[in-house]
Subunit: 382 residues, 2 copies
């Protein structure tokens, strides 16, 4: 076994960072293809960056974000947050009292942990269900939560979405929608309405999910509620900082629904290309993956490597030979060794899938050629 400990993982990651730095320095950023889907974006022009240094840059970007954000999300007012989780915390701090109830409807459990966790912090009772017929709103409920699309990109039915909002509003209870990826996935791919247009009082999206923006949360909704939430946001330091606000603004401006739709159809095309040679790739909503076990089943030559080691070596070959970044090479200790190719990333939009498929095949062939030589594999990783 090559990667045996967290320390090995740290060393492996350091090596990957060095390779990437070399590629950026010698061949430029355009020779790097980040398909992790975790990179986030930071788009900024030199004139914007020089404004960022002054008192006014932030003010200009926040003002501009009001306009661009409302176009993207609907609602009356926008509030940029450090994370979607911080926005959920602030909403619950502002609207949910101790001993009251919070009920959450989502397409498929589990819920994002930030919701029950924030409820616990304020001493509220939290209930969740993914069975629409079982969804009820008990007395003494302070907030109804809807998840637009889950962490695994399962999308809520729009009729159920509307009905939950109706049920809440009949009792005068505000509705917060966690629309982390849903604000784009639901509207662009599934042709649903924006959460605020469906009647949500507060909606939050993640600006790094399915768009070229930074990690952060963008809240939209009723001005009176946003103003209440903003007080908590400023008190506890939950707001997005100016450089992030700038990147949010440019991320939304550079968001292309067409590219997103394309990535959803392209994953089928890409799967078919890979399926000609391999048997163990699987589709994700916006790309493909192969697990360490799946990779192992592709190999019929003798070797002493663990399944995870196979994935690490392949991930390093992809990086070193073709500048393709996948999580096993750069992941933090404990990250999964599954190799994902996310086609909704900025770098993926313009890639030729046949060419990418050939690079994966050729990297796999190289894996086969070194697999019997553990020292050689060790050298590739460290």
């Amino acid at each position: 076994m090559i990667i045996e400990s967290s320390l090995d993982e740290v060393k492996k990651r350091e090596k990957a960072l060095l390779i990437i730095r070399d590629i950026v320095e010698n061949n430029g950023r355009e020779s790097l293809y980040d398909l992790t889907g975790l990179s986030g974006g930071f788009i900024a022009s030199p004139s914007e960056l020089s404004l960022l240094e002054t008192y006014v840059g932030p003010a200009i970007f926040e003002d501009a974000l009001q306009e661009v954000g409302i176009e993207h999300m609907g609602g009356e007012k926008i509030l940029p947050l450090n994370r979607t989780s911080s926005g959920i915390l602030a909403t619950i701090l502002a609207l949910v009292g101790k001993g009251t109830n919070v009920v959450h409807y989502l397409e498929q459990l589990p819920a994002h942990p930030s919701i029950p966790r924030s409820c616990k912090l304020v001493g509220a009772n939290y209930f969740e269900t993914d069975v629409f017929e079982e969804f009820t709103i008990p007395d003494n409920t302070s907030l109804v939560v809807i998840t637009g699309s889950t962490m695994d990109l399962k999308v809520i039915d729009e009729d159920e979405f509307r009905k939950v909002i109706e049920m809440a509003h009949e009792k005068n209870i505000p509705v917060m929608v966690d629309d982390a990826s849903g604000a784009r996935l639901r509207t662009v791919v599934f042709n649903q309405a924006r959460a605020c247009d469906l009647g949500a009082d507060i909606a939050i999206t993640s600006t790094d999910k399915l768009m070229p923006g930074p990690r952060g949360g963008l809240m939209a909704g009723r001005e009176d509620l946003i103003d209440l939430i903003k007080v908590k946001v400023n008190q506890f330091g939950l707001e997005a900082q100016p450089p992030v606000v700038l990147a949010m603004l440019n991320g939304i401006k550079n968001f292309s629904g067409e590219n997103l739709i394309k990535s959803f159809s392209r994953k089928d095309e890409f799967f078919d290309i890979l399926d000609k040679r391999f048997n163990n790739f699987q589709k994700t909503p916006n790309g493909v993956l192969i697990s360490p076990e799946g990779l192992s089943r592709e190999i019929d030559v003798d070797h002493n490597l663990s399944d995870n080691d196979l994935a690490f070596v392949l991930s390093f070959i992809l990086l070193e030979d073709y500048g393709i970044i996948t999580i096993p090479a750069v992941g933090m200790p404990g990250a999964s060794a599954t190799i994902r190719f996310d086609l909704s990333t900025n770098d993926a939009f313009n890639m030729d899938l046949n060419d990418l498929g050939k690079k994966i095949e050729s990297s796999f062939d190289k894996l086969l050629s070194v697999i019997g030589d553990e020292d050689k594999c060790r050298e590739i990783i460290f």
Copy 2:
């Protein structure tokens, strides 16, 4: 009266932003002198910015920040936070139990509100004092807090600092130091030791205070406690995001103790220059200010302007004629109309104080020449 409502203030601010944008576009950033002391810094090279777009940039900057941050703050491990307030919240979430006591010693009340507020959130009892002789640590105390230097830059006595830490450690209670500006003010100007070197278990500083960094919090301290706090930070979205981490790194690297010491002595020099002509300027720890009432007392010609209007017009003349940014022109609705000249800002470091004094005199002369013509004043502001 010219500025009568929040709407007027918004319009005034919009005009100021336009003037600043024009100056940046026509004459470049170097023609602008931001003396608000509120700008924060965002220093980044083109190669760093291109790294920011990739999965690895953040990892590289966080690693580099460990080294540079420990040099600045001491301690075993660094944790970059969205705000100092978020770091205080996370520490209290991680270390303070419901019903336990938190005691806080600072040089002068009032304390920063984030500390009692976070205690209230977790249901802890909060006690504070600025009288050292009255400081005691009751039973069932989970955290002792020390403020290194207050919001008004009052600095704690180093012996009292040590004694409070000793008292806490005798009872095995961890000590958190809110060293927002103190991490630089105490060490560089007052020759005190770093909080961690004095025995603090956790210390937090604000990277935009007295250094050219972004708004954000930098925590340092015992690795075991930082790891506990980091869990809360990640759960509730309190960490600094990659662009901010990059700017923190460069802010610390560009911090000059010499410049800070200079700003503290230069404020005396500057005060003397202004005092030749004016009677109502006052010293701040790192600059000078004149209040609207003080400004009014400088004027012996007839006019119908309010004290605040006088300050607004003068602030706009300073901006339009000399590119000098002060808060009355760019401030948010409700901000103070006091004109502060902060000499610890990046832009102030290389300014000739005699020249700056002349610009202020000449702007004041212009104020006198337009003061009788309310329409003219209105035109300057809107």
